[in-house]
Symmetry: C3
Subunit: 262 residues, 3 copies
């Protein structure tokens, strides 16, 4: 039953790599480029056009790039103008609006809603139903949990939007909200249901509404677990240090996160 081409529409102005498989009921619009060995599951839409498409006969779809080795699960909607690095993975029904740029080896969970003009680094994991407002950005190795939200409008409604930023290695808990323009440092841990209304320095463990810094995450002691943060020494599944360990990997990178350009 796989990839039998039922009810598929692929623009001749798209560029499909080697060994790409495209599921039933998919629509691939103009100027989409799909890297080699990528799987686009059923009912997905790539290169969804901007609103002008519907009203302006001279509309040209901006280019969309999906990196090689990716797995886009069913019912995705990825807008035109997005560039996504290699080894991208999604849950179902993700929505990624225009001009979103995503690094390598990221995954975006079921029903997450990326509102466009967003920058996502490398090796990030967005779980289900994450909402990122326009103009926000996140670093590398960031984990966002279900229903976490980044916002962008300090005095709604307005046209003066200010996207916030979340630094490398940080974790944002279930139902947590980062208020407009707020910067969360690196290696932070934000508790479930928190509302972050102030800049958080690196290594903050913050929780509550409004979020208060409870301690330095490095001082956090877990029952029978020692110090679980920073987490990179105890978690490696899917990370570039898988097999070698974080310390070795970071040394090989001269103490810096150096990833492939994309």
């Amino acid at each position: 039953m796989k990839f039998n081409g039922r009810n598929v529409s692929i623009s001749p102005a798209s560029k499909i790599g080697r060994n790409v498989r495209i599921g039933d009921n998919c629509t691939i619009y103009d100027h989409v480029e799909i890297g080699d060995d990528t799987i686009i599951c059923n009912d997905s839409v790539l290169g969804e056009p901007l609103a002008a498409y519907y009203r302006d006969e001279s509309y040209q779809n901006p280019p969309t790039l999906i990196g090689p080795g990716s797995l886009v699960r069913s019912h995705a909607i990825i807008y035109a103008g997005c560039t996504i690095g290699p080894r991208f993975a999604t849950g179902h029904r993700v929505m990624i609006r225009e001009n979103t740029h995503i690094g390598e080896s990221c995954s975006i969970g079921t029903m997450s809603d990326i509102q466009g003009n967003v920058k996502i680094g490398n090796y990030c994991r967005l779980h289900s139903n994450v909402h990122i407002a326009q103009s926000c950005s996140i670093g590398d190795f960031v984990f966002l949990y279900p229903f976490s939200v980044m916002t962008n409008d300090p005095y709604p409604p307005s046209i003066d939007i200010k996207g916030g930023h979340i630094g490398h290695y940080s974790q944002v808990g279930v139902h947590a909200v980062v208020l407009p323009g707020i910067c969360v440092g690196e290696n932070c841990l934000i508790g479930a249901n928190s509302v972050v209304n102030k800049r958080l320095p690196d290594f903050s463990l913050a929780m509550g509404d409004p979020a208060k810094i409870v301690m330095d995450v490095r001082k956090y002691v877990a029952l029978g677990k020692g110090n679980p943060y920073p987490w990179m020494k105890r978690f490696e599944r899917g990370m570039p240090w898988e097999g070698t360990g974080f310390d070795t990997w970071i040394q090989q990178n001269s103490g810096e996160v150096k990833l492939h350009d994309h």
Copy 2:
């Protein structure tokens, strides 16, 4: 690739206006009326039948009305029995259940979930993932932000539901909850993650769980911005006072919000 009629099912008992375009994979059920110049994007369902459709051979689909000049983005599900005014716009995958009545120039964001028997005024903006329980209502020019919720059951589970109301010009923040039967006044601003458990008078700035009235919004001073509320003098995009300004517009309307009947 536009509107090529791939896998479309349109009931002969529907009424499609002039210059309406209907995307691929759409289903238009019985007794749907679509106003002129409206665009229904791919994979949308209009006039989704009620449960009786599946079990009762004598089922008749109630009429559904989508106003002229609307743009319904892909994967919408709009139930039979809804009436929606002119210049309606949606994000993707909206769900609007039966007997929901929506005024003119409203927009409803991606994955919002309107549970039916809901009344929405004019020029409202529901962002992504707004959830409105049955029997709730909102006035005109109301903005609801992502994951905000109106509820209706004071002692769950019950059959004694009490929908709440949100007054004209009010704003409800990300992840905020309005508890069952609660009325929010006009020109209120409800902070992110608040739980509103009491009636809020007009011009309340309220936040917290339970939400406390912090001040009159008119006294709120924003750094470098002066008094941002009421917001109508500083925001006009898509509003009926766009170009003329709110003061002029309201004077032209003899100090009252007078909109076209629908």
Copy 3:
């Protein structure tokens, strides 16, 4: 327009009961068994294969079972390896991942997201947008309200997940979060927006972040309503005691919840 077989794909290795109707655009994968008198509405996917399907030629789809008398509304995605009891009902766009086991007469609301390896008892009601993490379980007659979340990772990110449990007859409010591994007793009521970070004994009325036990639910007095909890004496719609009342029903069951095996 009903069930006209437009763009349907049904595996010959599935087993479809008597009087089953399958809507347009549905995909039924290998080894799905659908009980008699069940309705699968348009655009649904049953037996969605696991990731190995896409990469491993020897992949065999595990069996999926949907009980008789069910109504799966449109755009559902139910993974292979799930077993679901009789009289199941869903809203739209539900997502149920692999190895989820659901008892009889349950309903799961629009956009709810069951992450797999989840156990759900009998007569449960999950409203819209409920998120249940892997390895969590809930008892019988449990009601979960919109955007409520059960989580499973105490020190994210990790591979040591600990699913929590919610006991029979309990209610979890809008936007409430149950933290990893936490057990909620029977007959509890958890307020909107609460974060449950500790074991709750039976009959707890708990609210806040972190949730505090406010009183025994049996002592809760509602204005003009008396003692609304436990709720089983005042609510019977769709429950097995509908028509006879809870007391009679529980006596007939020798004081125990005894339901059909499934």
